[in-house]
Symmetry: C2
């Protein structure tokens, strides 16, 4: 048993093209820093950079940590600080990063080491923010690389490490609520669209396992969620066209948006600028992250 | 330019669980033998073992061959013989085997060597039998192993060779028309079923590429076609239960059926018998093939 732990938990892009609710990829940046200290006093949660819930049962990071404590060491009190690097409601897995950070802090401070325990607790944390316990952000955030959910019960997630995959993520200064973005999706979809995504998601796996990243130009094309969700994001098609014209390999939406991302083979500078310019033409400011696939959550300190 | 060619083209199992219209796998047996001889007389087609069309524009094998001749060497006449080893309307890619056999004979007799030409001509041959030009049988029949269709135009198919994968296929003595089996499918499907198949088809690719065949127990579970099509095949669920209780790794339907198949790790004898027994309890006789993934079409003679 330890008394202090500090972890880093990165942004993620869920869905990764055709893998709605299934695929996700970890980025190197941005990331959250979560610290937990065991205390004799009352449990508290402090948020840095964004105004987020300060009740421990309503904050995703502390809620996720409590899933671990309640299961393995009931009655522990803690002081938690979440320094947000990932903007909330960004489509970059902000709540997932905080959930993983919280759950991982609890797991480590107890001296435990189970992937399943951390991911399942963090998936519960996601429930707080989206009304839906899901792991398509928390799995890559924790494990790193690219992940695909086979099932949560039983726990079955596989990981591929697409070494060196270069990603440009651009976060426009608009808000898309995950709940709203789920509501806009139809309950049923044309069979041919389902077949399309079966084919493309299979091609994603094949291409990532073989390191054939240029295939993603075709493989990332989605028909299950983006055709509906892109309506929530003015400028999506313009940004895609601009990115592809400037040498992007592929372009898609991060989770439910508004973050968009491109896969690139060059330094990504032109692609990032062209996407930002496209949003600016709609009067939308944006922030770009020229980054790579990341190795997942990391323990920075454990005392 | 040659004057005589003889090829062997194997049975295939399309869909392979969650990959409706996308996946397919080649078997070692059964197979068709297709022979073609250039002639000065009129083109003819002869079928051995089954009563199939004898008009060259209506027989899948000769029609597929004509796609190649019409494109590259118009006016050639041929005598073709198709010795059927794959029962028509079996769900084992019977028309696909004949189409590939016909197209490959034409390609080879002309001294040509293009995967795309053979597969596209054979896919056209499929149109004759099913009213739908598709490649989920002809691609594995020609290329061998496991194949996944990304798109036909542009031509983009990938192959995985799951070495040593053992398959028990059982063909019940009932008929299922491919056209009927397509009609029974709904035009739209629940989003959650589409997401399920995206997840499972991804897991199929991952598992085959890593040689983790035991994963197929989970990964072959389909929600897009089998839940509808199994109604056309009395005894499907009984046969599945019997196979799994007797040690099968996974169980599914070949194409639109009636062939069912199991993945096995042992010699497959008990699994084959248990499936046959299950059908027999419904009063249905059946034939079993204890076989393996195959290496695709083969040229037996070229003169």
């Amino acid at each position: 048993m330890y008394t202090y732990v500090k972890v880093k938990s990165p942004a993620t892009l869920a869905n990764f093209g055709p893998g709605y609710d299934v695929f996700g990829i970890a980025l190197e940046k941005p990331y959250d820093i979560v610290e937990l200290e065991i205390t004799d006093g009352k449990s508290t949660i402090k948020n840095v950079n964004y105004d987020l819930p300060t009740a421990i049962e309503r904050n995703v990071a502390s809620y996720a940590a409590m899933q671990i404590f309640d299961r393995f060491s009931k009655g522990i009190n803690f002081k938690m600080t979440v320094t947000k690097g990932v903007r909330p409601a960004s489509g970059m897995g902000s709540s997932g990063a905080s959930s993983v950070g919280g759950a991982l802090c609890a797991e480590k401070v107890l001296g435990r080491d189970s992937d399943e325990e951390v991911i399942m607790a963090a998936a519960q944390g996601e429930w707080i923010s989206s009304g839906h316990a899901h792991a398509d952000n928390v799995a890559p955030c924790y494990l790193g690389g690219f992940t695909s959910i086979v099932s949560l019960k039983p726990f079955n997630i596989f990981k591929i490490m697409p070494d060196g995959l270069k990603v440009v993520a651009v976060l426009p200064d608009v808000r898309v609520s995950t709940k709203e973005a789920r509501k806009i999706l139809p309950r049923s979809v044309p069979m041919e669209d389902a077949v399309h995504n079966v084919s493309m998601s299979s091609y994603v796996i094949y291409s990532l396992m073989r390191g054939e990243y240029s295939n993603l130009r075709v493989a990332l094309e989605d028909k299950l969620s983006i055709p509906y969700r892109k309506k929530l994001l003015p400028g999506y098609e313009d940004a895609k066209r601009a990115a592809m014209e400037n040498g992007a390999v592929a372009f898609s939406l991060g989770g439910s948006g508004p973050t968009v991302f491109a896969i690139v083979e060059d330094d990504g500078i032109n692609v990032a600028r062209s996407i930002k310019d496209a949003f600016m033409e709609k009067g939308i400011d944006s922030k770009d992250y020229i980054t790579k696939v990341g190795s997942g959550a990391e323990i920075l300190s454990l005392e």
